[in-house]
Amino acid sequence: MASATSANLNAVRETMDVLLEISRLLNTGLDMESLSICVRLCEQGINPEALSAVIKELRKASESLKVQQQQHTKCHFK
């Protein structure tokens, strides 16, 4: 029983590793943490196209925050 669980875990890990390599080759910008969250969301039935839109939107938002913070820091130190 324990060995079956361990074999399953190894198979999942191996699949995740291959998915990460494909992800890197495709320049998706996903790291292992975000990829595993995405895999779990897909397993929950989230539409992949909708999920990709969410990721792109989050990137846009965090990029604009970084720019905003950089500008704020510059103003503060002037």
């Binding site: 198979a11 998915l19 494909i22 495709l26 320049n27 969250i37 995405c38 989230i46 965090s62």
Partner: protein, 132 residues
């Protein structure tokens, strides 16, 4: 076994990585406010894709690749890479795709959906610069 809400929250937190909150100057956005904004935008993007406007849906034509299996979409990218002269990358991608078919765990039922996601995100970040 986390819920969709928890997973989306985790995804929002991931995108906050790399943002420094320590040297926050007066008037800057707080982490909590920004986290809330991120969630709002994430749900907005998700819902707009899941429930597109009905009238738009009638006008919109289905893309040719809508019903193409994700594995074939990856193979199409391999072809494009070859055409662009990136033989090595194309071969590596094909190898990984074959390997995925071999190792795909029975625990993961939605490998095709994940591949589809990767295809949608393909090229969404710049190619890493090779160092000399």
């Amino acid at each position: 076994s986390s819920s969709i809400t928890e997973l989306l929250n985790a995804l929002c937190d991931c995108s906050l990585a790399g943002v420094s909150w320590k040297r926050r100057s007066l008037g800057a956005v707080s982490k909590e406010i920004f986290r809330r904004t991120l969630k709002k935008r994430a749900y907005g993007a998700l819902l707009s894709k899941l429930f597109p406007d009905a009238t738009k849906g009638l006008i919109q034509k289905l893309s040719v690749t809508t019903n193409t299996p994700p594995r074939n979409k990856v193979l199409m990218i391999c072809f494009d890479l070859r055409v662009a002269g990136c033989q090595e990358e194309a071969e590596m991608l094909e190898e990984k795709l074959e390997l995925l078919l071999k190792v795909a765990s029975s625990e993961l039922k939605e490998v095709d959906a994940v591949l589809d996601l990767l295809v949608h995100l393909a090229g969404s970040v710049p190619t890493p610069q090779t160092s000399f």
